[in-house]
Amino acid sequence: MVKAATSEAPAPRAGLSALLDDVDDGPAAKAPVDRDTIKAVSEEVGFTGVPAKPKGARKAPVSPAPEVGQGADVSLGMAEDEVKRRVANRRPGHRTEGPKVQWNTRISEEHFAMIDVLREKTGIPYGKLAERAIELLARELDD
């Protein structure tokens, strides 16, 4: 039965110390490491995502963010003409003009055009995707 901690009597501090003294080395200390098995189990359960790189651990040089009108990330398969079309079709008051992005002017129009493509490909709502993209871009620029 799940219950709130506030309904429990507090364990005496001495109780913690006694339990600590009684902790065993644990079976994990003796278990052999088999990386192939570990990876196989991960794949079986779907734990195959690549974790983000630790801050400061980036090895590859970071390319500068493109200026407005200087082309697009070809890895998204977006032609430059398509970028220009999307940028030109922005509605007045779009997020690219809003206060949320003015803090970093290096985030270009192209990035937001890329977000459009990502939204189409992933189905993630615009606001959520844009915030995440801005966060990632800002982190990249800071690094």
Binding site: T6, L16, D24, K55
Partner: protein, 233 residues
């Protein structure tokens, strides 16, 4: 010597807070504790920078798939208790940590989304048990729950998990300002003053009970030796 991992493929469920609260209580009880900061955002490293190193607590960071097992083993050699704070993703790093753990805690808030992700973590633990042919104790830990009321959603989620025979830690970590303040003021609950946060005593009581429940789930010397003696016979 004992390794406890905080695992959930979902972010924002309270893994880091649970790890830090537990570390604080264990250090206060006289144990040496190594916190392995395996979240790429390194929140525990940032926590340490606020007040500087805390006596009894060591932080290890810059963790990746290549070094996590070595880091856990090194931490096991230097401290009595090792707590691994994992990133909220479903990656291989999580599996590596689970294989080296004596106890896995899966924090979750009382929502259906959190519960679904928690059950994914439990499934991974159970698959590891089969692959490694050993028990890996685990428990779900409800975090950021209300001290005053339990909503219908929470009750429903808790009931579903109990029906599924998922182990649940009897102590919940209540939503407390003191727990949040650890990341702005640094230190542990025992470094805070009453003037810093409200209801500090209740937060300490909650944390102590949580640590008590966790320690009770770890393998004990006596039971281990008894098992060994049984096998020898």
């Amino acid at each position: 010597m004992a390794v406890i991992s905080m695992a959930s493929p979902k972010g924002g469920v309270g893994k880091t807070t649970s790890a830090l609260v537990l570390a604080g209580e264990l250090a206060q009880a006289g144990s040496t504790v190594t916190l392995i900061d395996a979240d790429p955002n390194e929140p525990l490293t940032m926590w340490e920078q606020i007040r500087g190193p805390r006596e009894g607590i060591t932080i290890r960071n810059r963790i990746d798939e290549e070094n996590i097992i070595d880091e856990i083993e090194a931490a096991r050699a230097e401290s009595k208790m090792v707590i691994v704070d994992l990133e909220g993703t479903a990656g291989v790093l999580v599996t590596y940590a689970i294989t080296r753990s004596d106890l896995v805690l899966v924090p979750l808030q009382g929502s259906q989304l959190d519960a679904v992700q928690a059950t994914r973590a439990v499934r991974l633990i159970r698959q590891n048990e089969k692959a490694l042919e050993r028990d890996i104790p685990y428990a779900l830990v409800f975090t950021r729950t209300s001290a005053a009321i339990q909503g219908r959603t929470f009750k429903h989620v808790a009931a579903e998990l109990e029906t599924a025979r998922v182990d649940i830690c009897p102590t919940q970590l209540i939503e407390r300002e003191a727990f949040r303040a650890l990341f702005s003021l640094g230190g542990t609950l025992h470094d805070l003053r009453d003037a810093d946060v409200s209801n500090l005593d209740m937060a300490k009581e909650n944390a102590e009970q949580f640590a008590f429940d966790v320690l009770q789930r770890l393998p004990k010397k006596t039971k281990s030796r008894a098992r060994k003696a049984g096998r020898a016979a």
